[in-house]
């Protein structure tokens, strides 16, 4: 593998469907980072991931994974990447032992000992049929398989959706360990922003097939803030100074994208720190500008 700075480089990726367009999106996942790919259902997260994995043919743009072209070097890349989907792709009649045998046929670098170590760690039975596993156990099995062939890039599509907080935390712990190796990177698509808040180094917001925001999570959280003011004060704020505003009975909450500039411009206003969820909410509504 060549040396590379970014585990994923997407440039002007375009995919047109009837009623939906992934509109020339571009973003990067630096090597060694966890990228949270955030967006509501139907925003274009899965389409982007499918294009990354060459499951669908893009209409335009370029994708580089681990420093290589995702089509020309497809199979060499896939030897070093792992994908985790929202649904288990192994038949429910299989046992974990049979999954182990199956993966020997999929990856030359399959590490049986590591897989069994993960099974023991997750307390997953080896001889029990997957049909009898809980949803959390199935996801753990999928993650154990994904992490047992030395993948340098882990791509997850809504993998933690539908899991209870305890299982989600266990899984996040595994990812924290995985990312200790600086060669490892993760792209994690989700609409559960609290998970990404805990683990992501970078975030990319996507909505209606367009990238709204991309960058380091801490920088984004530091730069953004919610200004709280009365409806009267809000009316005096020019539309260009904020992303969107939520009106309620007590006044207005205004999402600011440049907190330090806003603090100097409106010294008497109250500013609160914000969360990824709020940022997503206010950006998604930026077309309306003012909403309730």
């Amino acid at each position: 593998m060549p040396d590379y700075e970014n585990a994923i480089e997407i440039k002007d990726l375009t995919k047109k469907y009837d009623g939906f367009t992934l509109d020339a999106i571009s973003f990067e996942v630096p090597k060694g980072c966890v990228m949270g790919f955030i967006g509501q259902n139907g925003a274009g997260k899965t389409t982007t991931i499918r294009a990354l994995l060459n499951i669908i043919k893009a209409d335009g743009g370029s994708i580089r994974l681990l420093g290589r072209d995702h089509i020309k070097d497809e199979y060499a890349i896939k030897e070093q990447t792992a994908a985790v989907f929202d649904e288990l792709p192994f038949h429910e009649g299989f046992t974990a032992n049979q999954v182990n045998t199956m993966f020997k046929g999929l990856y030359g670098s399959w590490n049986e000992e590591q897989f069994f170590a993960y099974l023991d760690r997750f307390s997953l039975p080896r001889k029990k049929k997957i049909a009898k596993f809980s949803k959390g156990m199935k996801m753990k099995l999928q993650i154990a398989a994904a992490l047992s062939h030395g993948a340098k890039l882990l791509i997850m599509d809504e993998a933690t959706t539908g899991l209870d907080p305890v299982v989600r935390n266990e899984i996040l712990d595994i990812f924290r360990e995985y990312i200790q190796d600086e060669d490892h990177s993760i792209l994690m698509s989700s609409h559960i922003t609290s998970d990404l808040e805990k683990i992501a180094d970078c975030v990319t917001f996507i909505d209606k097939g367009r990238i709204l925001l991309t960058g380091f999570k801490d920088e984004i959280l530091e730069r953004h803030g919610v200004m709280k003011c009365t409806k009267g004060d809000f009316e005096a704020i020019p539309a260009g100074d904020y992303i969107s505003a939520r009106l309620n009975d007590f006044g207005a909450e205004v999402m600011i994208s440049d907190l330090s500039a806003a603090r100097s411009k409106y010294p008497n206003a109250v500013f609160d720190r914000t969360t990824l969820e709020e940022i997503m909410l206010f950006y998604v509504n930026q077309g309306k500008k003012v909403w309730q």
Binding site: A76, F85, L88, P89, G93, F94, T101, G105
Partner: protein, 240 residues
């Protein structure tokens, strides 16, 4: 140098996917083979043997082929078990996951058709063995016609299997795939000229099967090659 993934492991995956169908065929083979064998035993040693010799001879003249064939029909269909892997793969969206792995489409298709070839061979061996057993019990040697009929049935089952798998994978739906296969079979019936249908007789069918017998290895290889080629093509196609 990078270690290569294990090919037998891929074949094993296909085998595990078909295990329920294989079990069902094994049980059916036991049951359906048992019944004609019991009739044959009755004709030789049981109540039917107590009938006058001329009647027994009549029964045998009209039913020997039917008895041996009905005993061998289940093993002939064994190859159909592999259709289950396409059905299950569709249900679990295996195709999406397969595309995230480094396994090339041709290798995955080869694993499927390696098992297909094994099942085809097992079908031939099992069907001939059952037929030979029936003939042994009847005290008559196995005929060229018997083997020709077995091979024609296996080739037919193999072809149906390829068509059903291809349609299921193509439509990514079991229902649509099976419907398309039935549609193809119905269309084929319409394409057969009417005079053939009217003039068709058992003797003609048996004669046709015997005529095709020397070509059977080529026909079976052709079915395997066609299935492998179409499956590789479908695996290599990207979603829209």
């Amino acid at each position: 140098m990078r270690k290569k993934a294990s090919f037998p492991a891929l074949v094993y995956r296909e085998l595990i996917l078909c295990q329920k169908s294989l079990m069902a065929y094994a049980v059916s083979t036991l049951l359906f083979t048992m019944m004609p064998i019991l009739v044959i035993l009755s004709l030789r040693y049981g109540n039917l043997a107590l009938l006058p010799e001329s009647i027994v001879a009549d029964i045998r003249a009209n039913n020997d082929l039917m008895l041996t064939l009905s005993a061998a029909i289940c093993p002939c269909m064994l190859v159909m078990a592999i259709a289950e892997s396409a059905v299950l793969d569709t249900q679990i969206k295996w195709d999406r996951f397969r595309r995230s792995t480094p396994v090339k489409p041709a290798r995955m298709a080869l694993a499927k058709y390696a098992l297909f070839a094994i099942l085809l061979l097992a079908s031939v061996v099992a069907a001939i063995a059952v037929m030979a057993l029936c003939h042994g019990l009847l005290g008559s040697p196995i005929q060229k016609t018997d083997i020709a009929v077995i091979m024609a049935l296996i080739a037919g089952a193999g072809m149906l299997n390829v068509i059903s798998q291809v349609f299921i994978m193509l439509f990514r739906s079991v229902d649509k795939g099976m419907l398309a296969m039935i549609g193809c079979a119905a269309a084929a019936m319409f394409l057969i000229p009417q005079e053939w249908k009217v003039n068709i007789t058992v003797d003609k069918l048996l004669g046709g099967a015997e005529a095709l017998l020397p070509l059977m290895p080529v026909i079976l290889m052709g079915i395997l090659a066609l299935g492998f080629g179409l499956t590789t093509y479908i695996y290599a196609r990207r979603e829209k």
